[in-house]
Symmetry: none
Subunit: 238 residues, 4 copies
């Protein structure tokens, strides 16, 4: 996952590359992102923090953007979709979790910077989709099938392309709205906003594909723990 492209398949000759160095470099990258942000992040600084020579970095990653992408992609994998009882609550939960992740300094600075770089670099754009975007569509798919199991949503239509289209739309709307609210409008993504947004999304969905049934008020579980876990300082990260 966060490993760089080692075509080490069958053990090559000479000294093998140090896996510890990989881990140290990615951790150092995240730490440096927190402290200085993308703009002042330098390869030399990362190498120094990781106790590694610059050559070792360049042997593994071709560019700063790829290193940073690998360093933060793993953080997005920590997003979860806890079962809060009904679809609306699950949507609110994932919105709040995602917003919490975007509140972490390394995540927001790295994500936006890498996206900015990708506007002029198709290869990087593809790498971002692969490492972050497409991986997190699982959240939509999971929430969808869970709602179907609960009977809140009808089963998938016969044509899988139609499903994919709706999933893409939902993902773009959720991710786009949360990012825009958090990083552009710079206003808090709190429970009130999440509720309002979930309402808009779910009622709107009913028009796009057969809609959800209303959510019984007593069914809502607690807020997902990960929503706040993201904001806490993670132990052992540096």
């Amino acid at each position: 996952m966060a490993a760089p492209d080692h075509p080490h398949s069958s053990q090559r000759r000479g000294r093998p590359r140090s896996a510890a160095a990989d881990r140290a470099i990615l951790a150092a990258t995240r730490a440096a992102l927190v402290e200085v942000g993308w703009g002042r992040l330098t390869m030399g600084e990362v190498a120094h923090r990781a106790g590694v020579a610059k050559t070792t970095l360049y042997r593994r990653w071709a560019a700063k953007s790829e290193l940073v992408l690998d360093a933060v992609a793993v953080l997005f994998d920590e997003l979860e979709l806890p079962d809060r009882g009904c679809l609306r609550a699950d949507v609110e939960g994932v919105v709040l979790s995602f917003a919490a992740l975007l509140r972490r300094p390394e995540t927001k600075t790295a994500l936006m910077a890498v996206l900015a770089e990708s506007t002029t670099d198709e290869a990087l754009r593809s790498r971002i989709r692969q490492a972050i975007v497409d991986r997190q569509k699982r959240l939509v798919l999971d929430g969808r099938s869970r709602a179907q199991r609960r009977g809140e949503l009808p089963p998938d239509p016969a044509d899988p392309a139609e499903t994919a289209q709706v999933v893409d739309l939902i993902f773009d709307v959720i991710a786009g709205a949360v990012v825009h609210r958090s990083l552009v409008s710079d206003r808090p993504v709190d429970e009130a906003w999440a509720r309002q947004f979930a309402t808009l999304l779910l009622d709107g969905l009913g028009a796009v594909s057969p809609g959800p049934r209303p959510c019984p008020p007593e069914a809502q579980g607690p807020l997902p723990s990960s929503a706040e876990a993201g904001a806490r300082q993670r132990p052992g990260e540096r």
Copy 2:
């Protein structure tokens, strides 16, 4: 509008700043953005293209990000909301116009780069909101009042805060979804997607605030000309 902060109110002493230099610099910045993108854009290159000394740049803008912001902000002002007959058509129109604007290389590279910088710079964040985000909320407000005039939407509620909240939500959802679809998912924002998205939005809106009436099919006007005008090379811009 795109002028840097000249507190020249009452004629100050000494030689006044050259307005021609301002224009040349902003035009050179846009041209350079098209050719080399944000990453390879240098202050020296901009100065050279504008036939201006570097000091003249730094006298007006403290940082590359502020210069670029001023250079592209004016492009967002060209967005219009042509009357296409009904609210749904107006939404589709603005979505397509905005997507066309984001297809221009200078717009997308500059917007994302400036947003990335702004994640660690509150002053820049505020400046972006002022120069771009808040200015374009006029599109939502215009569309809204036009629909109210048509009778498609009920009049504003008594509490103006409530209206503001809904307008913000709509703006975050539209802008966020279009940006995410265009620049992250990297899939086309075409008429089919715009229709699907407008459906989701308008039906969702009905749940958030009293909803729109259905759109008479015969009422839809033509696509806004600006949707494609943005993608064309602008004459005389060098």
Copy 3:
């Protein structure tokens, strides 16, 4: 003397140049030389100290070196040759006076810097000779004629070119040796050194042109007051 080249011959039209500005500029130049030396002396700084615009400087002096030359040349005019009773004592006196002048920070930094500039600028070289070098040959001529009046030296030979040659030699030897001792060898020019040097010079002179008679010990007057006056802070100079 310290006035720049005003070809104001017959009163020109328009507002006349301010003589106060001239004085303020030269004083500011000397003050700045003391504080920051030649290397960090800037035209802008001088203008600011003098309460004058840069244009006013450039209207009068074409280059920093010319301004500085005019500013310090006047200091060399303060050198005097007090009558200390015999030629040897007069020589020692002028050596000590000159060394005291070279101990002043503005004098030494300006003199050497202007000489350095002049190695690649014939016009400046000529201007230096005119403003400083040739003017101070009067000291040698005065000392010489005084010694002749005392009978310590024979009258000038018939050929004035021969006299000029010897005067030049004496001047080069005195000025050169004192400057070298002070600024290159960086060792003190004290009474002991002055005595030793005067001995070498006067005895050597006897071989070049008919020599001096010995100096009666009781004839030596006091040290010239100007020898130390130069080292004191001059009142009212800034």
Copy 4:
């Protein structure tokens, strides 16, 4: 010799500094001095001529003055004291050699500029003495002991401090007079002047310390070849 301060004692880690770069930089500095003089000499230009990055210069020399000092100091080492048969002829020879060296554009512009800088920089002053002044006292010492071997001068006095004092005086007088004649008075140091000066010096010396015997006319050898060698373009220097 002209190498900058490498405390590389026992082979350090990492890539060692390039000795070829050192040589190229010093040669480029001399060449640039000839062409543009001290005033227009820039670090960037030197780096460019030497085919080296500016950082490589700054890694070795902290300031332009130190670089230039190292670049020209080596030229002063080429001064020699050929045996011309008697002390007077040797003095004339060294005076002419020194004057020839000061006729070279790089030498005069660099020497005076570095001395000017040194008036406000004690460290540089000390570095100049070490690299140029004290090294060339060997010429006085050599001439002196050679004259003693010939019997033209008595052996050194018992007190070595007395000898040092006289040597310093001689050096200041010779170097000072030649520099002043050449660069300040701007008059030629030719054989006639050298003869007159040598006469003054040697006869004067007799009064300071026990003097030289007269020089037998038939003993004078030819002019030192180095007197003119310095003015010729040196082969293979760039």
